[in-house]
C-alpha cells in the first residue's frame, strides 16, 4: 500500500478511536450512573431525602428454628409466600430452577454436624435454606461490576438487576448455593391469575441475570417482615419458626434468641459471617419429615 495512504488511514483510525472514547466522556449525562448524575438535575435541585436510618450500620438477620420448620406446612407456606411475593418462576427442570428459599437435607446443610452414627431421620430432616446475607460475603467480593453488593444502610446483600452482566462468578463463589441464574426468560413460568396478572408487582427478572433472596427489602422499608417470616408465623403451630430482626440491636427478638438459645450457622469456618442462624432440634426428628 502507498505510504501516504497508510498514514492517512492510520491517522483516520486514531481520530475515530479518540473521538469515540472522548465524546461520551465530555457528555456526563451519557455515562454510567457513578459519574455525572448531578448534571441532569434541574437548577433548584430536587434532592433525595435520606432516611434517618440510612446512616446507621444496621444488620438484618434471621433465626430459623429447625424443629418448628420440620413441618411441611410451615416450610411450604414460606416457599409459597416468597415465590408469590417476588414472582419467582417455577421452572420444572432442576438444572434451571430458580429458588430463593427452599428445603434441603440436614446432611447437606450442616455437613460438619453429621457423623457416622447420626440417625437417618436426622440426616434426612428438611432444613430451610436461603441466602445468608453474610457480613463478609464472598459473592460481593468477586462481583466484577458491583451488581451484587452489601447495602450499607441495612446489611442486606442486594442484587442490582440492571447492572448484572450474568458472568455467574457470584454463583461460583457462594459457599451456600444460594444463588440462581436465569438460564432463560422466566416469564412463561411465573404464576399469573386468569387475567394474566402476576402475583405481585415485584419486577420479574430477565434472562441472563442472577437472583436470590433479598430479605424482602421492599417489605422492610414499609415496616413489614419478610414474606416467609409472616407466612410461617401465620401457620397454626408455626409461630416462631422464623424470627427476623436486627442483630445489631441488642433488644431485638433475634438478639434475644441468639443470647438465650444455642445457635449454629452454615460453614462458619469459611469466615463469611452468615446472618441466618439455626436452632437445631434437641432430639432426633420423628422421621416422617422429608426434604
Amino acid at each position: 500500500m502507498n505510504e501516504s495512504r497508510r498514514r492517512f488511514l492510520k491517522e483516520l483510525g486514531c481520530t475515530v478511536l479518540g473521538a469515540g472514547v472522548a465524546l461520551p466522556l465530555l457528555d456526563p449525562t451519557r455515562l454510567g450512573t457513578d459519574v455525572g448524575k448531578a448534571a441532569s438535575r434541574p437548577a433548584a435541585g430536587g434532592a433525595r431525602a435520606s432516611a434517618a436510618a440510612a446512616a446507621s450500620s444496621r444488620q438484618w438477620a434471621m433465626v430459623v428454628d429447625v424443629e418448628k420448620c420440620l413441618r411441611e406446612d410451615v416450610r411450604n407456606a414460606c416457599v409459597e409466600a416468597c415465590d408469590r411475593a417476588h414472582n419467582v418462576p417455577r421452572i420444572p427442570d432442576p438444572k434451571e430452577e430458580v429458588k430463593w428459599i427452599w428445603s434441603e437435607r440436614y446432611e447437606g446443610v450442616f455437613p460438619d454436624e453429621v457423623h457416622a452414627h447420626t440417625p437417618a431421620a436426622t440426616r434426612e430432616a428438611p432444613v430451610l435454606v436461603l441466602c445468608n446475607h453474610c457480613t463478609d460475603p464472598a459473592c460481593v467480593k468477586v462481583c466484577p461490576t458491583g451488581a451484587t453488593f452489601k447495602r450499607e444502610s441495612d446489611g442486606i446483600v442486594m442484587m442490582d438487576m440492571h447492572r448484572c452482566i450474568g458472568c455467574r462468578y457470584c454463583m461460583a463463589a457462594c459457599p451456600y448455593g444460594a444463588r440462581s441464574f436465569n438460564w432463560r426468560d422466566p416469564r412463561p413460568w411465573i404464576e399469573t391469575d386468569a387475567s394474566g396478572k402476576p402475583a405481585s408487582d415485584y419486577p420479574t427478572r430477565t434472562r441472563g441475570v442472577v437472583e436470590k433472596c433479598d430479605f424482602c427489602s421492599e417489605r422492610l422499608r414499609v415496616g413489614q417482615t419478610p414474606a416467609c417470616v409472616e407466612a410461617a408465623n401465620a401457620v397454626q403451630g408455626g409461630e416462631g419458626a422464623l424470627t427476623f430482626g436486627e442483630v445489631s440491636d441488642p433488644d431485638s427478638d433475634v438478639s434475644r434468641l441468639l443470647a438465650e438459645r444455642n445457635t449454629v450457622c452454615r460453614k462458619v469456618r469459611l469466615g463469611t459471617g452468615p446472618n441466618v442462624y439455626y436452632i437445631l432440634p434437641g432430639a432426633t426428628p420423628a422421621g416422617d419429615g422429608r426434604a
Binding site: P42, G46, A51, A54, E152, P198
Partner: protein, 128 residues
C-alpha cells in the same frame, strides 16, 4: 489520480443514500403524525415539570434506581418541595396508567426500545 471520477461518483452515491431520511421526509406529502399521549388525568402534577421530564425522565429513573436499590433510600424531594416515592410502577404509572397509551407512543415515534417492561410489571397487567 486516475481513480478520481470513481471516487467522486462513489461519494455522491453514498451521500444520497445517507441523506435518505431527510429527502424522503421532505418529499412525502403527509408528515408523520406527532405522537398523541394519553395524559394523566389527575391534577396533582408530575414529579418535575413537563419540559424537564421530556428531556431527563430516563436519567431520573436511573437515579431513582440507584437510590432505591443501591442506597436503600426511597424518598425523592422534587424541585417544588413535594416528596415522592421513587417507584416506576408505584409513582409514575399510578398517574400515567398505561405504558401503551403513554410511554410507547413517544418511544415508537422516536424508535427507541427501553427494556423496562422486560422486568417491571406493566400497570395494565400481563407479562406480555
Amino acid at each position: 489520480m486516475t481513480d478520481r471520477p470513481r471516487i467522486v461518483l462513489g461519494l455522491g452515491v453514498f451521500l444520497v443514500l445517507a441523506a435518505y431520511p431527510v429527502w424522503s421526509a421532505l418529499a412525502s406529502s403527509a408528515p408523520p403524525e406527532r405522537p398523541e399521549l394519553e395524559r394523566a388525568t389527575d391534577s396533582i402534577g408530575c414529579v418535575e415539570d413537563t419540559l424537564w421530564m421530556k428531556a431527563h425522565h430516563a436519567d431520573l429513573l436511573n437515579e431513582w434506581r440507584t437510590s432505591v436499590v443501591r442506597e436503600g433510600t426511597r424518598t425523592y424531594v422534587s424541585t417544588s418541595g413535594r416528596t415522592w416515592d421513587m417507584s416506576l410502577t408505584g409513582t409514575c404509572m399510578s398517574c400515567h396508567k398505561s405504558r401503551e397509551a403513554f410511554c410507547e407512543r413517544c418511544h415508537t415515534y422516536a424508535d427507541v426500545t427501553p427494556t423496562c417492561w422486560n422486568c417491571h410489571v406493566p400497570p395494565e397487567g400481563g407479562l406480555r
